[in-house]
């Protein structure tokens, strides 16, 4: 067993520095790497490029990094629900690249899988395709989208072991699996770090080969963005 376990978030983030490009898992606030984000806030890194489907809310998730003006550029598919984001974007302080959600996922997966680029129909004929190579296959037009290049991927899983194997829960899976192994170093934080051998190999979502460092997250707030319920 190759041991990927590190003692804490501090060790897990060794090597991060200003002006790096990070991938961060999560959809809205669901399945975000809360511990890694909080540590990035503490480290006060600047000039970051963040690849993440969303940008958090004003006082949680990536919103915390935005608030301290640590992010230079966001690559996302949807960035509502964040006033500070809007202010920085409209004032030009923050560079924002909006791309289709499936393209974001596939550019991660391409990086993970060794594909330099992929063709997707999403965005053809729109401003998203401007300046990009297009090509016809079987009478339909596609846009060439390149694999992301990132320094670190920060992902969050439900359970993991020291071998780096990961299991996700519910829709907290989202972008996390495609980001594993898609950056130079993948840091996984988990709610439960279980003994090696206790996870059923049949049930592993991400094999440890895609993960360089794994640590037990300290606390998880797991904030809910839209609490919707029905009456009994």
């Amino acid at each position: 067993m190759i041991n990927k376990k590190v003692a804490n978030v501090h060790e897990a983030l060794e090597g991060v520095s200003d002006n790096m490009t990070f991938m961060l898992g999560g959809f809205g606030l669901c399945g975000i790497p809360e511990n890694s984000i909080n540590e990035l806030v503490k480290l006060n890194l600047k000039g970051l490029t963040c690849i993440s489907n969303n940008a958090g809310v004003d006082d949680f998730g990536l919103g915390l990094l935005l608030h301290k003006k640590q992010i230079k550029k966001m690559i996302s598919s949807y960035v509502g629900e964040n006033d500070e984001f809007e202010r920085q974007m409209l004032s030009g302080e923050l560079d924002v690249e909006l791309i289709p959600q499936g393209t974001l996922a596939e550019r991660c997966r391409a990086a993970q899988s060794g594909f330099p680029a992929i063709y997707t129909p999403a965005g053809y004929g729109t401003e998203v395709a401007e300046g990009k190579e297009t090509r016809e296959f079987d009478g339909k037009m596609y846009v060439l989208e390149h694999a992301f290049k990132a320094d670190f991927a920060f992902v969050k899983a439900w359970k993991g072991d020291a071998a780096g194997n990961l299991i996700f829960k519910g829709t907290a899976r989202n972008f996390n699996p495609a980001m594993c192994g898609a950056a130079k170093i993948t840091v996984a934080e988990v709610e439960e770090l279980v003994p090696v051998g206790s996870l059923d190999p049949n049930q592993i979502h991400i094999p440890g080969i895609f993960v360089q460092r794994i640590f037990l997250g300290e606390t998880y707030e797991k904030r809910i963005e839209q609490r919707t319920v029905r009456t009994r």
């Binding site: 809205g28 974001l104 996922a105 596939e106 519910g170 829709t171 899976r173 979502h205 609490r227 919707t228």
Partner: protein, 218 residues
Amino acid sequence: MALDKTGIAKRIAKEVKDGYYVNLGIGIPTLVANYVRDDIEVEFQSENGVLGMGPFPFEGEEDADIINAGKQTITTLPGASFFDSAMSFSMIRGKHVDLTILGAMEVSENGDIANWKIPGKMVKGMGGAMDLVASAENIIVAMMHTNKAGESKLLKKCSLPLTGVGCVKKIVTNLAVLEVTDKGFKLLERAPGISVEDIKKATEGTLIVEGDIPEMSL
């Protein structure tokens, strides 16, 4: 009388067939789930990674790890599955989802759709809309026929930045059901009490009216 949002959802629900996998957008489309016949089997897909979405949870049973693409807490039904975003869009781009229902700001008579950006205003992003419209074979747009200023949203050409080109097949508005054809918007049904003349006035794009246009039944 023109339909309200619930009426539009009820009419669209009739387009949902037995055995369909359906992706619902935010807004009016979300309401469609409430009006699908209960004697057919349909599974709702949410692009954040769930198939077999159920109703909202009872109070106290919300799970932060189980949400829909609108970030609302949801439940799952027996037979449901979770998956990652890449696989979710494989379902969508790979044409495994049978029906996509989404809202729009503008639709043009050749089936272009604009629903993600108003230049000069805050731009929140396209989310999964571009992937959905670029791939789905069967797209129904749910929207009001005119905007708040009374201007038609069914145009010769979209004025807003596009989400996709030549992709919309059917439109259900508060006034009418229309099909996008090579020659323009073909009027299929009228909302109860709405005349063909009312619909003509509210449609900027080419409107094709052939024979008697029936009132829609809800």
